[in-house]
Symmetry: C2
Subunit: 146 residues, 2 copies
DNA sequence: TATTGTTATACTCTATAACTATA
DNA sequence: TATAGTTATAGAGTATAACAATA
């Protein structure tokens, strides 16, 4: 057994290091948790989004989304509107303040990502894309089958 | 902002999926936490190890190692001996029971890893190795510099 | 009866730092 | 004074499930 070469360990260490590196930006400067950041990032792409869609999109579960939204709403960064078509749903929307915050945080976070990717050449970036997709699909299929 | 394409997000999702997939083995069947598993895996390689060395090797901090060891010792899987050369140190060793457990769990965990890696061809595995190392080094250097 | 979202609860992790014993 | 390891504590995150409102 060689832990240093063990893929799950290496992925965990890398993911933690990368996450730390990015959460320095959205966490320390903008006081967002990872879940709040994910929900905001989801809303950055589509103006309005049901909670269930946000959960799917961010791979969070409904509680995590609910709690993140409570905090984001409390800070005035999003609204949660009723869905007239099905009043069980909540429709999440950025407020102007939320949009402002995103306009500040997104470039900084993307700069961090770019900085990370600068460690790789074009070929390596392409390879990484493929490999991440394939491993994720495999990991999910293994977990399901026990 | 496209969360799905955002590298830190993708790494976090993958790492979580892979970790879940592996901890099904050491967690459900052998009742080990991730930290306990890491400490045991470290001891699988060298018969005796100081706590500080174990912390470095597993990228855990001294508390995490201390607590994992308390539980492992409680289950009779490791011993913590005094270091005659410097009595502040604790020397960690597998007991025969710990060795037995490792002999059972390691092949299963490695089979999971092999199963994961079956998603990739030889070139992709090589590329993955390189890319993980480079990204980790970069992430650490970025975090340090703020 | 099923679904959406909220709340409750218990559990685990994490981070900081105080503490002890040695050096 | 510094280091190794333990313990304490508070805060954050996670998982399960109960619950209210709606369909």
């Amino acid at each position: 057994m060689n832990l240093q070469a063990f893929l799950p360990y290496r992925l965990a260490v890398l993911s933690e290091a990368v996450s730390r590196c990015v959460s320095q930006v959205y966490g320390e400067r903008f006081q967002l948790t990872r879940d709040e950041w994910r929900v905001l990032a989801a809303l950055a792409e589509s103006d309005a989004m049901k909670s269930t869609a946000a959960a799917l999109y961010t791979t969070l579960d409904k509680m995590q989304v609910s709690r993140a939204c409570t905090r984001l709403e409390g800070r005035g960064l999003i609204r949660r509107d009723e869905d007239p078509e099905d009043r069980r749903n909540k429709i999440l929307r950025l407020t102007p303040e939320g949009r402002d915050l995103l306009d500040q945080v997104v470039p900084l976070v993307q700069a961090r990502e770019a900085d990370l990717l600068r460690a790789l050449d074009f070929q390596e970036r392409l390879a990484l894309e493929q490999v991440l997709d394939k491993l994720l699909a495999r990991a999910r299929s293994i977990s399901q089958s026990g």
